[in-house]
Each structure stands twice: as C-alpha cells, then as structure tokens.
C-alpha cells in the first residue's frame, strides 16, 4: 500500500501509518488507544504506552441505549491521562471498526484531536512491531469536556424520517443480504436482529468493507471515489446519513466519507437497523 500522503485523500490529518506511530511512541502529546471487539486482545499485547478504550464499558451509557454523558467522557479522558490538547491515536481489531466507532464518539464531545492508525492492530502486529502486556497508566488529568453535542455527526430516527421524505441520500453499509431483507441480521448476529427486513427507502447499499484493503488499510482516494461517487453518485456537498445495524460499521464509512473524501455533511445513524427495523409505521424498502 502506498504512503498515506500519496493516496490523494482530502485530508491526511486524521490518519497515520504504523510507521508514523512507531516514530512517535514517546511523544507526550499523543495518547495511543486500542479499541477492540475481542476483550482479550489488549491485555495479550498492545502498542507500548497504549491504553484501552472498551466500546461497551467506556463508550456506552451503562443503562440506556446511548453514549456516555459529559461526566462519563471526562472520567474516561482523565483515566487515560488525556487533556483537551492530547491527540488520541486510535487503533484496533477488525480493520479499525471499533477504533472508528470510538473516534466518532470522541467527536460528540468535540475532541477533534484524534487520529486512526491505518491498518489497525493486525498491520502493526504483522509488521513485527513491538507489543507489550503491561497496562499503561498515566497521571490523572482534569479533563473538562463540553456538553455532548450530537447535532454535527449523529442523527436520530425522526431526523432520518425527514431525510427520507426530503429524498436525501443514505448509505446502508450492511451486507447485501441484510440490505435486501433476505437476512434480518448480520450473519452470526441473530440477537441484534429486527422484526422487519429491508432497508431505509432510498438508501444505497455500499458495504463498509469495500473501503478497506485486505490488510485493513484504507483504499486510495481514487478507489474510494470510484465506489462512492462513480458507482453511487454521492457528492461531497450532499447531506448524507450512514447506517448499519448498531452504528459501528457505519462509523467506519462515516470516517471514510468525512476525512478521506472530504464530504462535508455526513452523519451516523447509530439507531440503525436495530431501531428502524423494529419501529412501527416507518417506510421500508424491500426488493
């Protein structure tokens, strides 16, 4: 894969390579954070100095289906020793699914000093770079977060309904079988299913994985434009809603469209199909 700077992205501010991380391991202004689906991975070995950000315990509200609140985010950032000025570099398993999810949640609190390590944990490991098992502990900070602001990058069901009625574009990043309604859930995820199958009317089906190479790195801007603009006619100025099943896969696509292609108004519908497919009396399209 070519260097990030040579891939033609709209911005390279939010994406760093494994090599870059290797060269910045001792930078006190950075905090490396691993976010995985597999709960054993971080403790079995992580980038030296990296902390863990767990997608369930650290990012979600403990009771409601929602994300953590202002004080919860402050607690998280204080625990990992971050200040508002700290740049958090996220990486993880599964082609950075959960890293992008964490990155997106960070934006709800305006922590824009964040980056994704291209290729994630697997690329770092496959390159033979060092992994350590001791958990990194940093002095607690006094991180002060603003109130959570969902308006920029998050969208709720009523807004999605208005979006549909206005004929604006949506991207359904689930598998084709989920999109057509053949499956009510992602293969192997039966408990995150829905009562109805299909997709939100007008949504284009662009599975998230199309944006990633085999090694988990992101495709070049030309390749991404061919998929999103060439095949699906999405334009940089469009008001776009991305969704999947619970909002984690669509975080990956949200990152691609927003940072790598420079689309200006992309929001993630984290209610996604587990909400829409269970709602009463909302429109559904099914071939």
């Amino acid at each position: 894969m070519s260097a990030i700077e040579e891939r033609g992205y709209a911005s390279t501010d939010a994406l760093v390579s494994t090599e870059w991380v290797s060269e910045h391991l001792n930078d006190p202004n950075l905090r490396f954070a691993e976010s995985n689906e597999d709960p054993l991975l971080y403790a079995s070995g992580h980038i030296p100095g990296a902390v863990e950000v767990d997608w369930t315990r650290d990012l979600n509200h403990p009771l409601r289906r929602d994300y953590l609140d202002k004080s919860g985010f402050e607690d998280l950032m204080r625990r990992i020793g971050a200040t508002r000025e700290t740049t958090v570099v996220l990486y993880g398993d599964k082609s950075n699914w959960w890293a992008c999810y964490a990155f997106w949640v960070f934006q709800l609190f305006g922590h824009t000093n964040a980056k994704i390590m291209d290729g994630g944990r697997l690329k770092w490991q496959s390159e033979g770079r060092p992994l350590v098992t001791e958990a990194a502990i940093y002095p607690t900070t006094n991180y002060q977060a603003p109130d959570r602001d969902d308006s920029g990058v998050r969208v709720f069901r009523d807004q999605v309904l208005e979006h549909v009625q206005a004929g604006r574009p949506l991207v359904d990043v689930r598998s084709p079988a989920e999109y057509t309604g053949e499956r009510l859930h992602m293969e192997a995820y039966p408990n995150e299913g829905a009562l109805r199958g299909g997709h939100i009317p007008g949504a284009a089906n662009i599975p998230w994985a199309r944006a990633a190479n085999e090694d988990g790195t992101f495709k070049t801007a030309d390749e991404l434009r061919a998929i999103y603009t060439g095949e699906n006619n999405l334009q940089a100025g469009d008001d776009i809603v991305a969704y999947c099943r619970i909002g984690e896969r669509s975080s990956h696509t949200w990152f691609v469209l927003t940072y790598l292609l420079g689309f200006q108004q992309v929001r993630n519908y984290d209610g996604s199909w587990t909400e829409w497919g269970n709602l009463v009396n909302v429109p559904i399209e099914k071939p």
Binding site: D38, P39, L40, L41, A43, R57, Q125, A188, N191, E192
Partner: protein
C-alpha cells in the same frame, strides 16, 4: 443434573475467583497460551471447510477423535492470528470436555460462553464462540447417532 460437566464446572469456579475484569482476562489469556493447533495426524492444511465453525470470525476449526475409552478428544485450529478468545475457548473445550461421555457433551449449553467471557462480549464474538460449543455438541451427537456406545462414568 448439573448444568456443566465436572471439569468445566471446576474451571468456571476457578474463573469466578478472579477479583475483577482485568484478573479474569489475564486468567483467560493464560489459558489461551496453552493452545496447541491440531496435530498433523488429525488434519493438515488446507483444512476441510466441513470442520470450520460457522459464524466464527477467528476461523476456528474443530475435529473430534474417537478414543478407545468410548469417548472423544477434541482438536482445534484457529487461523486468525488475532483469535485469542477462540484459542482460549479451544483450550477450555479440550481440557474440560475431552473424555466426557458423548451424551453429556451433547447437552453442554452454549451460554457457557458468557460464563467464561462475561456478558460484555459483542454479538459477533459471542456467536463465534458459541459456534465452537455447537461444533463439539454436533460431534458428540454424530458419535452417538452412529451407534457408538456412550462412555460409562
């Protein structure tokens, strides 16, 4: 009838001794470190897809070997280099269920995955691990269905 075979129940009791999540995770990592891939006398690459666990993103394969003692021994391969939870599950299934009576194996509940790893597992991860339990159950059921006598315990 106890929900779990004796060795598995003992393992669960041992895990419950952990003081917190970090300690439990370390216990599970230690278990995973004992993982040994399927011996060549059982299977060699490329492995037959008939032994691949459905829905397991760690690409876990499961084989059962019939032992002279009218019981089964389980062998595993985990092809995803990051499949540490699958390796842990494989060691647990082998160490606690190999040698059990087939009729007992066929009744091991898939929910044991949550007893081992906790309820915070993602749906994808839990389904893959439950799939490994299902593969063991299926081996036991096939063994019984083919007319083998069940091991007397």
């Amino acid at each position: 009838m106890d929900a779990y075979p004796e060795k598995l129940a003992m393992l669960l009791e041992y895990l419950d001794l952990s003081g917190d999540r970090d300690e439990r995770i370390q216990m599970l990592i230690d278990i995973a470190s004992r993982f040994k891939s399927v011996p060549e006398f059982i299977a060699t690459r490329p492995f037959s897809k008939t032994h691949l666990t459905p829905a397991c993103e760690s690409e876990a394969y499961v084989w059962c070997e019939e032992l002279p003692s009218q019981s089964l021994k389980f062998h595993f391969a985990v092809e995803n280099p990051q499949g540490i939870s699958a390796k842990c599950m494989a060691v647990i299934l082998d160490e606690t269920l190999s040698g059990e009576s087939a009729s007992r194996l066929a009744r091991v509940p898939g929910e044991v995955v949550y007893r081992i790893f906790g309820k915070d597992l993602s749906m994808g991860k839990s389904m893959g691990l439950m799939g490994m339990v299902s593969m063991v159950q299926a081996c036991a059921k096939r063994y019984l269905a083919s007319g083998h006598a069940d091991k007397r315990l």
